[in-house]
């Protein structure tokens, strides 16, 4: 299955505020507020400046959070990336 790469929003485009279990994200470009739960904020934080694929992000998250990067982690991250892209918070590179 294809593993498209995604690019993070430009620096300063998003204002991210953790509110307990929820994280509120204000997108300065669309003026929209998004409310997300884990692992969305972690995925956004793990994206660097360049394009990243789900497999790359799964490896980074596994290293940071002591997860098993094998198994279906990459597939779960790929699904979450598609949702973040639908919200406009990341873009396909």
């Amino acid at each position: 299955m294809a593993d498209p790469a995604y690019r993070a929003a430009p620096p300063d485009a998003l204002r991210i505020e953790a509110l307990g279990e929820l994280t509120a994200i204000f997108d300065r470009r669309s003026m929209q507020t998004h409310l997300v739960v884990a692992p969305m904020p972690e995925i956004l934080a793990a994206m660097g400046e360049g394009p990243s694929s789900a497999a790359t992000l799964a490896r980074r998250l596994a290293a940071a959070f002591d997860l098993d990067a094998q198994g279906d982690a990459a597939e779960i991250v790929a699904e979450r990336l598609r949702e973040l892209a639908a919200m406009g918070l990341v873009a396909e590179a």
Binding site: L19, E21, L22, A24, R28, M31, T33, L35
Partner: protein, 288 residues
């Protein structure tokens, strides 16, 4: 407009015009104790006008107009002019105010710290705030609470309290009749009677208070206290704000700060006495 008056409620200066004398007289009586500042320009204009000129004589009915036109606002009979004025004032603030984040919530304060009560119509937030305002609390408002984006402070909007149905008997037994407006029977919202807040609450209407507690009251059922996470409080308050979206990032910043600084709880209560006791209990715990 043939008749008009000026009313200042908290930071909002209203100009209210009417084709008839009666609603203006009723408003001037209700707001007689409010500070006047005739030199300040009006922030919002409310107009109560006849649908057609001849209707003023034939079958008087009051339409609500103003800076924002609400096409489906109900024409109300002339006897409801006071209610029409109140609805017009609410609409102008809800739709037009941009200087503060507006929460559809009542609020009371003690020692310059505020308890914000947010809920749908019928949640009892208005009655609870009015009852607390007759005790050791300053009533900040029964309908709207304003949050100053820069400081995070709550500002009062102590309009005349709109008592509905059962709340009318509960309050009339406790207050001086001079503080009550006429009974408006059979309005689209049931029976309504206005209560003028205590003189000390009106005198203090420009004093900000620090939000200390956010409560989501629910009238009915057994007494209960449910702690609420900051995230859920944020979501509920975006729904309770009439201008959150319009304020953009300033609204986002004000609301995230509010839910982080003030703990939030849902409370259920079977009667007003229990509701007031729950507020006092949570206040005592928050103050610790």
């Amino acid at each position: 407009m043939r008749h008009s008056t000026r009313i200042a409620v908290g930071p909002v200066q209203f100009r209210i015009g009417s084709d008839w004398r009666e609603p203006i007289t009723a408003l001037e009586r209700l707001y007689a104790g409010y500070p006047k500042d005739e030199d300040r320009p009006a922030d919002a204009t409310v107009r109560l006008f006849a649908a057609r000129p001849w209707r003023r004589w034939l079958r008087p009915s009051v339409h609500i107009g103003g800076d924002f036109v609400v096409p489906d606002a109900l024409p109300l009979p002339l006897s409801m002019g006071l209610l029409a004025a109140e609805m017009g004032m609410n609409l102008q603030v809800a739709l037009g105010w941009r200087r503060h984040m507006l929460l559809h919530a009542s609020a009371v304060a003690r020692d310059w710290r505020a308890v914000i009560l947010s809920g749908e119509s019928g949640s009892g937030k208005s009655t609870l705030a009015a009852l607390l305002g007759e005790g050791d609390w300053r009533l900040m408002g029964d309908e709207f609470t304003l949050i100053e984006p820069a400081s995070g402070d709550a500002l009062a909007f102590p309009r005349a309290v709109s008592l509905k149905n059962e709340a009318i008997a509960e309050m009339t037994a406790r207050v001086d009749a001079a503080r009550l407006g006429p009974l408006l029977a059979g309005t689209p919202k049931g029976n309504i009677r206005h209560l003028v807040p205590r003189a000390d609450a009106i005198a203090a209407m420009h004093e900000p208070a620090r939000p200390a507690l956010i409560l989501f009251p629910r009238f009915g059922g057994e007494a209960a206290i449910e702690p609420m996470g900051a995230g859920e409080a944020f979501v509920r308050l975006t729904e309770a704000s009439t201008n959150y979206t319009a304020l953009g990032e300033a609204g986002f910043a004000a609301l995230t700060r509010l839910v982080r600084e003030a703990p939030a709880f849902g409370i259920a209560y079977p009667d007003s006495a229990t509701g007031m006791a729950l507020v006092e209990q949570l206040w005592a715990e928050a103050a610790r």
